[in-house]
């Protein structure tokens, strides 16, 4: 039964997830290609020193990619459910409504985590070609809060799409947007260390968010 729910979610999102992951990989490829170009034109040592001592984040075009992914997957999954209130079809299934929603959320969150894992893995291993491991870890630590924002954005957008009342959708968008902005505070490389685990924990808790709007949807 749960596999059938996964199957439905896969049918809705497969092209979005595949294309998004491909685009993310292309973006990372571009980042390292541009890095190599900088090495050739400015010298490797010069680029290293700007990264180490001047806060150069050559990978900053990656900043909003996880966030975009979270939004895209949420829309791909939940907009078809919200249209004509098709989610009623899932709620009618011989499956607890909350269980059904959590399985849907698990699918979306897992597909995002797989994509982010691929991205971070690429950044790490491509990074190791050009930098010592200490610099690569700093890059990963800088990129991690952006990735966590993608997971939070997914849950927040899912929750908003399922929310039946427009005034509340507007208010939730504001609160959600402000919360997501906390993942992009202007800070140096690897500065998010202390806040990261808190933000990640909140992103995990937020996976339950759509249960609230799903409940309101069901109770009218």
């Amino acid at each position: 039964m749960l596999l059938s729910v996964f199957y439905k979610e896969w049918l809705k999102t497969r092209w979005f997830v595949i294309l998004y992951t491909a685009m993310g990989i292309v973006a990372i490829g571009y980042i390292f290609m541009a890095l190599k170009h900088s090495f050739n034109f400015s010298g490797t040592r010069s680029i290293w020193s700007t990264i180490l001592f001047q806060g150069n984040q050559f990978y900053k075009i990656f900043k909003f990619i996880p966030l975009a992914g979270g939004i895209i997957v949420a829309i791909a999954q939940y907009l078809p459910e919200a249209n004509d209130k098709r989610i009623k079809l899932t709620f009618h299934l011989p499956l607890g409504e909350n269980k059904a929603l959590m399985v849907m959320q698990a699918f979306g969150a897992l597909s995002l985590l797989v994509a982010f894992f691929v991205f971070l893995g690429l950044i790490y291993f491509l990074g190791l070609i050009y930098f010592p491991v200490q610099m690569v870890w700093d890059i990963v630590l800088t990129v991690l809060p952006w990735s966590v924002s993608g997971l939070s954005a997914y849950s927040i957008v899912s929750f908003i799409i399922l929310e039946p009342r427009w005034p509340f959708r507007f208010l939730y968008s504001i609160v959600g947007g402000l919360f997501l902005s906390f993942h992009f505070v202007h800070a140096g490389t690897a500065c998010y260390g202390p806040a990261l685990s808190g933000l990640f924990l909140m992103s995990l808790l937020l996976i339950t968010a759509p249960l609230s709007s799903g409940y309101r949807f069901r109770k009218g």
């Binding site: 059938s4 439905k8 078809p80 009623k88």
Partner: protein
């Protein structure tokens, strides 16, 4: 015989607007029951409460003994819901939608699904979103029948369908229900279709059940008499005898549960001599309008 559906003291308000109040009715297992009521009398509200998409202000509905606000998965597997508009997951194609639903129902009968769907002139890979309304409704019907549910709750099964598809629905549903002693609870805005399908009728009006009986009993008990008046100033209003009366100038349509003799006696008491007095045979639609008024 147990009740498939039971609604007890059902009350619902939208804000301060009363929709239903202390409504009580039961649907016995094995019956095919149609729900009728004028717009705004609470049919959609009752369906939404039965579907679990509305929590009533007071009272409750039970399906197979369980509160509809928290049906167990086991009970849900015995119910086939049709959502108004034959709404389905339009991003799926025919093959995918069969594969999706079959994973949920242990009693799934793929034969029932494909038997209906093969009548469509579509390939297995055709997306639901590219189908006509009628084709979509057929897919929806196939899904419901393949579930082999004990209870079917159909919210306006004829919506958007041309006569051919409506007839197909009625024929399949009736045959399914009768052959396997299933229960159907349905509504439709096309009462002629309902009449072909249902055995029993439930007519509601805000806070009361106006009629709950077999269609045949209702139509034999509820009568219409047409006649003309000599004097069109006469007022005829006896709430005990007359359920409803439509008078246009001197032409009268009188609706009643009473006998022809009782009506004639009443007219005589009022010194009214009816002209061209006759009993008119009604179908369900005529009877419904007669019971609930045109306006």
């Amino acid at each position: 015989m147990n009740n498939a559906i039971e609604c007890n003291n059902l009350t619902h308000y939208y804000g301060s607007k009363r929709i239903v109040e202390n409504l009580n009715f039961q649907v016995k297992e094995g019956t095919i029951l149609g729900l009728l009521g004028k717009n705004g009398t609470g049919k959609t509200t009752v369906f939404n409460i039965l579907n679990g998409f509305l929590r009533p202000t007071d009272g409750k509905c039970l399906i197979f003994g369980e509160d509809t606000q928290c049906l167990s998965p086991a009970t849900k597997s015995r119910i086939g819901f049709l959502i108004e508009g034959h709404v389905q997951y339009s991003f799926m194609n025919v093959k995918q939608i069969e594969k999706f639903y079959s994973g949920f129902y242990p009693k799934w009968k793929p034969g029932s699904f494909w038997e209906i769907v093969k009548k469509l002139d579509v390939s297995k890979n055709q997306k639901i979103s590219t189908m006509s309304w009628g084709q979509r409704s057929q897919v929806a019907l196939g899904i419901i029948l393949a579930q082999d549910p004990d209870l079917l709750i159909l919210d306006d099964f004829s919506m958007g369908l041309d006569p051919g598809y409506r007839r197909l629905f009625v024929d399949h549903l009736r045959e399914y229900a009768k052959s396997e002693n299933k229960t159907i609870f349905t509504t439709s805005h096309i009462i002629q279709d309902m009449e072909r399908l249902i055995d029993d009728v439930l007519i509601i009006d805000f806070n009361k059940v106006m009629v709950q009986s077999s269609v045949s009993d209702f139509l034999s008990n509820f009568k219409r008499f047409d006649f003309e008046l000599e004097n069109d100033d006469v007022e005829l209003d006896n709430e005990t005898l007359i359920v409803n009366i439509e008078k246009v100038r001197n032409k009268v349509e009188l609706y009643t549960y009473s006998s022809e003799r009782d009506i004639r006696n009443y007219l005589a008491e009022r010194s009214v001599t009816p002209i061209n007095f006759s009993q008119v045979t009604m179908n369900l639609e005529d009877a419904f309008i007669g019971l609930t008024r045109k306006y």
